[in-house]
Symmetry: C2
Subunit: 219 residues, 2 copies
């Protein structure tokens, strides 16, 4: 079956929210998509009609197996294009999200197959997120939230969940990228901010809001 750009964006956003909350609600999806709750309800009906969604009025909704599969092909396209933009065209990793957001809707199956080969079947995108294979399978990296790493622990940055330009600009400023080694020096109970050492060199302070969006794995 074939989906409109709007439908694909809804599917992708529902998928993303499901990583955090088992069942998604109308308002959070509206916020995610920069639209209004009433518009979301309209689209939910449509996606339910197309049998991609488990949806009970007033009770929330989630993608079913079919919906999940489609979400994963969109995620796959998005992350392959991001990888292309960074490794082949030389974009900075914080500039690719918006462009990949457009490219991901070009739906030729052969295009994505060939792009994948051309890029030598990359496993993760420039933000460290895994790229699903043709069947939607991927090995999730067991990631820990930087906001929960205790003092004196050393870790390596694996991915960043909030990919806004503002967020990534801040990370760039502090020389933090995928693969960077971090060590938590001090944790401030007052506001949840943490002091960290970056690559065994400079130290910096990250707000709780920032550290919650950084995922890491053990050194």
């Amino acid at each position: 079956m074939n989906f409109s750009v709007s439908e694909e964006n809804y599917i992708k956003s529902i998928y993303r929210l499901q990583q955090q909350q088992e069942v998604v609600n109308t308002n959070s999806l509206a916020q995610e998509l920069n639209t209004r709750a009433a518009s979301v309800t309209d689209m939910l009906k449509k996606l339910q009609l197309k049998k991609l969604l488990d949806y009970e009025k007033y009770r929330g909704f989630k993608l079913n197996a079919a919906g999940n599969k489609i979400a994963l092909t969109i995620v796959r396209r998005h992350r392959l294009w991001e990888y292309f933009l960074v490794t082949k065209l030389g974009f900075e990793w914080d500039k690719v999200h918006a462009i990949a957001e457009e490219l991901e809707h070009v739906s030729s199956i052969e295009l994505i197959q060939r792009l994948d080969s051309f890029l030598d079947h990359p496993q993760t995108d420039p933000h460290g997120d895994p790229i699903p294979d043709v069947h939607g399978k991927f090995t999730p990296i067991k990631q820990l939230n930087l906001g929960e790493i205790p003092e004196k622990k050393s870790v390596i940055v694996s991915s960043v969940s909030n990919q806004s330009s503002e967020m990534l600009e801040l990370l760039n400023h502090n020389n933090i990228k995928i693969g960077t080694g971090l060590r938590v020096i001090k944790r401030f109970a007052f506001d949840g901010s943490i002091e960290i050492k970056v690559n065994k060199q400079a130290t910096c302070i990250l707000s709780e809001q920032v550290s919650k969006n950084i995922f890491v794995y053990h050194d």
Copy 2:
């Protein structure tokens, strides 16, 4: 200014028709876009309002300077993507048109700049058509129509104007591609078909309809 996918497709089609006819008419544009005359009229008003079009009711229309410039940036994007698909992803030259048709609407200026550099600033697309530069400039190759080449003349294929899969399949079958040497053996007055020798080897017959869509330059 920013244009919808529909607007861009109209602009591109008007540009293409203008290569053949100075002033474009509603019906031929409707046919080109696989839509109805009434829909075309709707869009003409819109494009005129946006000051991209010289349009006189019932009298035909053409792109003005602003419209032309936009057409050329779309053509540039389309041809760069076609070049990418063939040289980097290994697509056959007759399979890329539809995909480039989607990719061309991704509008990031930086994307196209970087793609152009990545491809080493190609001058022509896989069909032999010149790729306009950032300013819309390109050097048109002086091309002759194969349908008008006299008997016993040898020429080289420079481009193909009808890029339908069917047309290109036929050319592939006869081993004709950009750069192929052709010699007109005989011209049949009855139906305008011609007998040609391909690469000094096999001979084949091309209908007038086909030969009219092949452009060549002197050997």
